[in-house]
Subunit: 319 residues, 2 copies
C-alpha cells in the first residue's frame, strides 16, 4: 500500500516557503515541496551551522541561513519545524520581519500549549494555521529525511476559531501536495488523540528501556542478547530524538498525565488478572487487541510484512 | 547482518526428530532441520486437523499425525512446541511411548513452571533438556514459519542439575544447526531475563492497545488513523498469539509480577518528572536509553533501517 508522490504541480501553492528547523520533518518537507514544485522558492533556517552545511550539500532549499528574520522576510508561508519548546522564541524573533498576509504554520506534536506560546508573538496581519503531520521515524537530522515521509500519512490541522478560510485551504493544499490526507480538529482534541496514539507509547517505551538498564539481576549484555523477544521494538521507539520528546511531555503535560492515568488503571487490572491467574480474562484482552491492528493494516497505516519487514533468511540461505 | 543457514550436515544429529505442535516455531524448526539435514526423519504431531493438513501440503515433515504417542515412539528427540500450558498433558500422553535414552526438549518461553509440570510425567530413562529459542514474529501457524527464523538468534538451554552431558550437547548441536547461538543458564534466571526482555513488553503493549480501544473521548477510528505516531508498533506486538501469551503470563507469574513492579516504580518516577516539569530529568532518561539500542544493533539483533525497514516512498515516487 505504498502510494506515490505525484508529478510536479503546474502552479505552486506558495511563491516562497520558509522552513525553520531542518531536522527529519523539516528536511523531508523541503525535499517533498521541491519535488512537487509546491513552492517556487524554499528558504531554510536552522540554528546549527552543521545542519545548514548539510542542507547545502543535500541541496534541500534555495537558501539556507542562520538568520531567522532574514529567512522569513519575503516568505508567503513559514513552517516552524524545530522542537516545540523552541517555537516561542523563534516566533518572537521572526515576528517583526513577517510580511502582511503571511501564513505561519508548524509541524509540532503538541498544539494547545504551542499555540498559546506562539500566537501572542505574532503581528495581527499574519495567519496562524497550526498543523501536525503524523509521520516520522526514529532517526533525526537533515540526512534522515526523505521526500516520501508524508505519503499516505495523516496531517492534522487545528485552526483557531475565526481563522482565515483561504489560509486554511492553502495549508491543506501544501500537505496534500506532499501526499498526506488532511483532517481538521480542535487543538484540545488533537492533544488528547496524540497523547494516546503517540506520546504515552513513547513514554512507556522509554520507561521500560530505562527499567531494563537499571536491573541488577539481569545484565545489560543479557538484555541486548535476548532482545528479539519483543524488547528491541521498544528500543527503536526509545531511540527517538530526546529534545523533541522532552518538549512533547513538557508541553502536553495535562493530556499525557490524563492518558497515563487510564493506562495505569488498566495495567493494575491486568496485573490483578495475572495474580489471580484469570486465564479467560487475559485471553479475552489479547484477542480484542487484534481488531485494532487489523483496522490499522486495512487503512494502509501499516504493512502486513511480519516483524516490520525485518530481513528474513530463507531456507536457501538467501535473505 | 543477515547470516546464512549453512549447507546440509554430512551426519545428522538425530535419526528421528518428533515435533509436537506445528505453529510458527514448530514449523520453522521442521523446515530448518530438513534443509540442514539435522535429522534423518522428521515426525510432526498436532491436535488440529487443519494444521496437520497444512503440514502435509507444505511438506514440513515425513509424517504428520494427531497421535502423539505414535509420533514419539521411535523418536531420538522430541521437541514440545505447543503453547506452554499444553505441555503437561502432552508429556503425560507421550510418556509411556518414549524410547529409553530419548531426549525431550521444548521451545517454551517459560522454564521453571514448565519443567515442574513436565518432569514428573516422564519416565526416568529419558533426558529432559529444556530450551527456548528467542525468536519469533507476530504471526502464528504453520504457514507463518520459515527456515531462517533462528539464524543469528539466541537459544537458551536450561538443563537441570545432573542432566546428561551428551544429551545437552546434542540439543545444543540441533540449535546451532538451525543457525542459533546457544547459551546455558538456570531456569530461574531464564524466567527473570525473559520477563523483562519479552513478557513485560508484550504485557504493556497489550495493555495500551486495550486502553486506546476503551476511550470515549477518542474514537477507534482516530486511534487507527493517527497510529503512525508510535502506537502501531505496539499493535504489532499485541497481535501475537493470544493462547501462547495467556500461558506465558500464567506460567511465569512471579517473575512477570516482579519485573512489572520495577516497571511501575520507574513509571511513577517518570510521571512525577512530567508533573514537576523536570525537563533535565526527562532529557537524561531519553538520552540514556539510546545506548541500549546501539548495543542491540551492534550485536546484530536488530537492523538499522529506520522504521523497521517499512517501505519508503522516495522522491521519484518509487518505493
Amino acid at each position: 500500500m505504498v502510494e506515490r508522490l505525484g508529478p510536479p504541480l503546474e502552479e505552486p501553492i506558495f511563491g516562497e516557503l520558509a522552513i525553520i528547523g531542518v531536522g527529519l520533518i523539516g528536511s523531508s518537507l523541503a525535499r517533498a515541496v521541491r519535488k512537487r514544485h509546491a513552492a517556487r522558492r524554499v528558504v531554510l533556517a536552522d540554528h546549527s551551522p552543521e545542519t545548514l552545511a548539510r542542507a547545502e550539500v543535500l541541496k534541500l532549499g534555495d537558501v539556507a541561513t542562520k538568520d531567522i528574520a532574514k529567512a522569513v522576510e519575503t516568505a508567503d508561508c513559514v513552517v516552524l519545524s524545530a522542537p516545540v519548546g523552541a517555537n516561542e522564541k523563534i516566533a518572537r524573533v521572526m515576528a517583526p520581519a513577517l510580511k502582511p498576509g503571511a501564513i505561519v504554520t508548524d509541524v509540532g506534536s503538541v498544539k494547545v500549549a504551542v499555540i498559546a506560546a506562539v500566537a501572542p508573538q505574532l503581528p495581527p496581519h499574519v495567519h496562524l494555521i497550526p498543523a501536525h503531520p503524523v509521520a516520522g521515524t526514529e532517526q533525526s537530522g537533515p540526512d534522515a529525511g526523505f521526500a516520501g515521509l508524508f505519503v499516505n500519512r495523516w496531517c492534522i490541522l487545528t485552526p483557531p476559531a475565526g481563522a482565515d478560510d483561504r489560509a486554511i485551504q492553502r495549508v491543506r493544499a501544501l500537505w496534500e501536495a506532499v501526499g498526506s490526507n488532511v483532517e481538521t480538529m480542535s487543538a484540545e482534541h488533537h492533544d488528547l488523540v496524540l497523547a494516546i496514539t503517540s506520546h504515552v507509547p513513547h513514554l512507556i517505551a522509554y520507561n521500560i528501556v530505562g527499567t531494563a538498564a537499571d536491573l541488577e539481576e539481569v545484565t545489560q549484555s543479557e538484555v541486548i542478547k535476548f532482545s528479539a523477544g519483543g524488547f528491541r521494538d521498544f528500543t527503536r521507539i526509545a531511540a527517538s530524538d530526546p529534545i523533541m520528546w522532552r518538549d512533547v511531555f513538557l508541553y502536553n503535560k495535562d493530556a499525557v498525565l490524563e492518558m497515563l492515568g487510564r493506562f495505569n488503571e488498566d495495567l493494575t487490572a491486568l496485573q490483578r488478572m495475572i495474580r489471580r491467574e484469570d486465564g479467560d480474562g487475559l485471553f479475552a484482552l489479547f484477542t480484542r487487541t487484534r481488531a485494532i491492528r487489523l483496522g490499522i493494516v486495512a487503512q494502509g497505516q501499516e504493512t502486513t510484512a511480519p516483524d516490520f519487514g525485518r530481513p528474513r533468511v530463507n531456507g536457501n540461505g538467501q535473505s
